[in-house]
Symmetry: C2
């Protein structure tokens, strides 16, 4: 400590102000800070921009009548969730995004914030509500015009018209542009003819389609005057009052799924079903009486992405819901881990609390750090979403940024949720496998989050393409000289140097001081540069390899792209992780309580350095870290984990979930009671002399 303080005086850097190696008081900028989490203020910060809405949603999620009952049959679960949906319709909780004049609040961000908290009650409730109001209703809202709003939204909002969002087809999953269903305009009757031309064009996996839906927003190739104008949305009734399909419409029940069995997913198909021309949701494209197609967006590709872009809220809400489920699972596992004792390596009588085992910490704390990063990133994401949808941010760039953000964050957080739920399950052992302790049910339900609203791999590929476009734009503006410089720098980069990496390589230069290297690693700017540099270099590398694609025939260009698909997707992942790290770092700047800030800084460092450790091979291969520095990363992570241990319970308590949300007996204090009873039994037996001797001591 003294040594470090002296060095700090000699050459003050950010890293040198934070040189602690233990869990005691910490010197920050000359002031001594006792690391401690202020649960109330951190909890408020985690609730984010729409804190009040979230608190209200959590009250709703705490109501037993809104919660999942484990072990219901599929039929009973569906019926229960449908009933719960009526509660939501009545209290308006899920209607904030709809127009004020129809009873909504034109509040897009708040709507999602409240909606995603429902995952805590039952993911089936969340997703079924999402189908009704977030997909079916939102499609009418965003793709329809005022006439559609006034005609359809009231019934959608009050649930008198349950509806399906009939986009996905069995044959085309995430490739929506290629769907086969056609909507051919017939000027004779002023109608569209909706038709399913082959089996692969059946609509599939649609919530509300198997049982409850009486209408749908249907996506089909709009054909008029012999021209296919691409995918458009249509409002179409599908069932009559008795629940029977209307003429020409058929379907199937998807039956039992891996989870989310409170939702009646199903299939739909159409045999030359006629609907009025007015049923075209015509905000971005319209057909006149004589069959002339008109659109405010001339490029068919841009029109398609604009229409689909209005439906980004699904991805936004999955990011938030997946993060909430991760937080819940970690609250359960860390609470249990801090109470349960197993094995007594360090003592003759007392068993260790399992959260004191290094491996247990290594399993749970990095996931806790990621969950924090995601929580902060999600709130910023939601603000961006709200800005775009409320009209505060209106440029094309804003919309593209929002979509890239969605495509980058949703895959990471939904995969993280599955990984975290599984690790939490295993960390709770056999008790974690019991449905009563919630984790297995949540995991089963969230499984499909990885592939719906866009398959995660497909979304990350979109991000990679956006990053490549950005990269090529950057150099399109640059002159030939700049490009030549870039190529030289790249070559140099391969031989243990770096382009945008000067300050980093200076900081990292091996001066034989381990303390300094650790100091550098915990420097915010060093972490930022290491993470940013990796994304930039990966994209630049890929761009270099793909440059000749523009000169190749289509097939060969596709093959070339495909030969680098995996690294592009990894680059997109790195980009998403950087976004999360940036959000965590910005949140840290807003944290005021010094003790909390110190603990959060460790957690952010654990997140950032965890990303470096995960990709340590890349940093070594590309000369960004020496072998010695790379070892320091792992050693420092071990130290961070030990420092975070005393604050683990406070960090999960700050998520703000009560027993009504957790509903897991193992996280209720029950385990502590059992452990205490057992320890008291043995202590009493030892004290009274009635305890049997051990065989070994008996032989002495």
């Amino acid at each position: 400590m003294v040594d470090t303080a002296q060095r700090s005086k000699a050459r003050p850097t950010v890293s040198d102000t934070n040189p602690n190696t233990d869990t005691g008081p910490v010197a920050v900028g000359g002031v001594t800070v006792q690391p401690a989490v202020d649960v109330a203020s951190l909890g408020r910060q985690l609730l984010g921009t729409w804190a009040d809405v979230r608190i209200q949603a959590r009250e709703l999620s705490a109501r037993p009548d809104m919660q999942r009952i484990e072990g219901l049959s599929m039929a009973d679960h569906r019926a229960r969730v449908f009933d719960q949906l009526h509660v939501l319709a009545e209290n308006g909780h899920v209607l904030r995004a709809f127009p004020t004049h129809l009873g909504g609040a034109d509040d897009h961000g708040g709507n999602i914030a409240g909606f995603e908290e429902l995952v805590i009650a039952d993911p089936s409730l969340q997703i079924k509500g999402g189908v009704q109001w977030g997909l079916f209703g939102a499609a009418v809202l965003h793709l329809g015009t005022e006439e559609h709003h006034n005609k359809y939204l009231p019934g959608i909002m009050d649930l008198s018209v349950p509806g399906a969002f009939a986009m996905t087809e069995i044959g085309h999953g995430s490739d929506v542009a290629s769907i086969g269903t056609t909507a051919t305009f017939d000027p004779e009757t002023d109608e569209f003819v909706i038709h399913t031309p082959f089996r692969a064009a059946w609509k599939d996996y649609l919530g509300n389609a198997a049982k409850d839906g009486i209408a749908a927003v249907l996506f089909a190739q709009l054909i008029t005057q012999g021209v296919n104008h691409g995918v458009h949305a249509f409002y179409i009734p599908i069932r009559d009052e008795t629940g029977a399909f209307l003429p020409g419409i058929g379907g199937e029940d998807d039956g039992l799924k891996g989870g989310l069995n409170g939702i009646d997913n199903g299939r739909l198909h159409f045999d030359h079903v006629r609907i009025p021309r007015a049923n075209l949701l015509n905000r971005y494209g319209d057909v006149t009486e004589d069959g002339t197609y008109t659109s405010s967006i001339s490029s068919p590709g841009r029109r398609f992405f604009t229409m689909l872009g209005t439906l980004v809220q699904g991805r936004v809400s999955l990011d938030g819901a997946a993060t909430a489920a991760s937080a819940l699972a970690l609250t359960i596992a860390i609470t249990y881990g801090g109470q349960r004792r197993q094995f007594n390596a360090g003592s003759a009588t007392d068993e260790e609390v399992i959260l004191d085992y290094q491996r247990h910490q290594r399993r749970l704390f990095p996931r806790l750090a990621t969950t924090y990063a995601q929580t902060f990133a999600h709130d910023e994401f939601l603000v961006k979403f709200d800005d775009v949808f409320s009209g505060k941010a209106t440029t094309d760039a804003d919309r593209q940024d929002l979509e890239t953000l969605a495509a980058a964050l949703k895959p990471l957080s939904t995969w993280h949720a599955l990984d975290t739920l599984q690790e939490a399950r295993e960390a709770c052992g056999g008790a974690g496998f019991l449905a009563a302790n919630r984790i297995v049910g949540l995991r089963a339900d969230l499984d499909v989050y990885a592939t719906f609203e866009g398959d995660n791999n497909v979304l990350l590929q979109l991000v990679a393409k956006r990053l490549l476009t950005d990269f090529s734009r950057k150099f399109a503006k640059a002159d030939a000289g700049a490009l030549a410089w870039y190529v030289v720098a790249q070559a140099a980069g391969r031989a243990y140097s770096g382009t945008g990496l000067r300050s980093l390589t200076q900081l990292m230069a091996d001066r034989g001081s381990t303390a300094r290297s650790v100091g550098a690693l915990r420097d915010t700017e060093v972490q930022r540069e290491m993470l940013t540099d990796r994304v930039e270099t990966m994209i630049a590398d890929a761009a270099g390899k793909l440059r000749r694609a523009t000169k190749l025939p289509k097939k060969e260009a596709a093959d070339l792209f495909n030969a680098h698909q995996n690294e592009l997707i990894e680059a997109a992942r790195a980009h998403g992780e950087l976004l999360q790290w940036e959000a965590f770092t910005r949140a840290l700047e807003k944290t005021e309580d010094p003790g909390t800030k110190q603990v959060l800084t460790w957690l952010r460092d654990l997140f950032g350095l965890g990303l470096v450790e995960k990709n340590i091979g890349w940093y070594l291969i590309n000369g960004r870290l020496s072998a010695k520095r790379a070892q320091a990363v792992t050693a420092y992570i071990d130290r961070l984990i030990a420092r975070i241990r005393p604050h683990a319970q406070s960090l999960v308590d700050s998520f703000g979930y009560t027993q009504d949300h957790l509903r897991a007996p193992i996280a209720s204090g029950l385990e502590r009671e059992r452990q205490t009873e057992a320890r008291e039994y043995y202590a009493a037996a030892r004290a009274s002399g009635t305890a049997p001797r051990e065989e070994k001591s008996g032989k002495k």
Copy 2:
């Protein structure tokens, strides 16, 4: 090719005989080989030592009445599985391990081989059978003596006495030595008094305990004459003919679980329940009429591990069942991936088969390689198990090797199954989430394999301790000079050199030839040395850090060990992976068909180099690979994956599962039919001129 052949002449090495970079014919030892899998012969090799038993078990698993029905209620599923168990009892399929004179076959290896294939019918059936015959029955067989065999085994074998294996307690999970249940001998009545002293000592998670079991083998601390002789097993009736608990015995139903709901897991507790002295399963420890304890094994620790060691078969069978489930999931996902088309990057009309995407290959093929490695490793493991249990291998070392093997392989294969089932699920998109396509159900059932029969992390820690012991023994025999040499070599190792690594560093020396470096990577001996070196070095490093533990007080020694727990567990994992790689390599040596051998060699290389790539940071930090070589690893893996692509279907077909085993509509050819119908529809429309023009072309 010519270049390589010339080099080959100049300096023949194994690697130089296999220099191919494409998927065409291959020159192996001067002979041209067409890589192609002979599905029949490879299938036979995969079936392994007990091929006939496996074929018979698969016929049984193909019977609809033995299979799981998705969506049954817990009660119905339990009833169905119990009925199926009677079929198994009648046909003797699960009785091979029992004594010949009682109707068994004294066939331990064959018994497990047949048993683990039942996972394909329904994991609940497999595990419920495992409870009855593999745990309850096997405990009587291995811990009891002839009197117990004759008295209890007939009823266990014919299922007239369903029973629980009452070992695990809620408070002690994998720490069996610390269970709280007591069996106190009372010489007055010649009885043991079975007692549950506190809530945490309730037996929990026991199959057959909630409903069907009328008896149990119960594990308790044996106390006689005031001395606790540690954990012993007792035979104890628990229910009467009406299904009611006997006096002093109570219990609870564990209720719904994350999977395996065909098994009635439950809890048991005992209030001073008296059983005759003869009910002690007394093979390894006995109590005379006057209460004197006797045992053929004087060390209580060794006695405990010997008793538990007889129950290793659970771990053996989980390794096999998890591998079978992985093979099944990959068969479904790869078959589907080879038929489904999505996106048309390379063509105006034809969409790509999704298995042609690099990312899709990267997701599935390394997991296929691991599944092959596990299949071969499992067969060797089973042979070892059979040797020990049939009495062919009888030394302590044999038994310890078997247990270490079990502790190393079971964690890896059960985790791999969960990872593979999830990746297969996602690779099949929404279709993968439907229960009808099997994957989600298998994943839910296999979840608990990671923590039962020993928590995976706890097992790997046992392996690490064994490796540390081996290491210290090696140097206990060595003189001081050898140890000094070792320490120097270690220090050198840190500075970019290696101890047992001379031949490797020579091969790896950077001579500027990429071809040679790739050649070296596919050299069997280079892979072996890289993987072996990592295990040895990790253990040696840890041993160095832990050396002073022997001189420390218990608490500090435990803290020191704990500070390295994570790296020890990683070393154990590396050891298990090396065992799998070795088994794959030995299997390769036995493969006769040259085309098959070539494809399998690529798959083995993918497995081996995949392990190197996963730990590339370690190889770089420790100077085992240069940055350039490290990049070559990834580049070569990309090439291997492209080479394996044409053989992927044959490689999964070789697992030998028929449609009766797969029972997944998406792997039935249905997807190909749908794709064909859609393509023919569009082709016909184009040919007839009825296809609408695209909007873009319409504007030309």
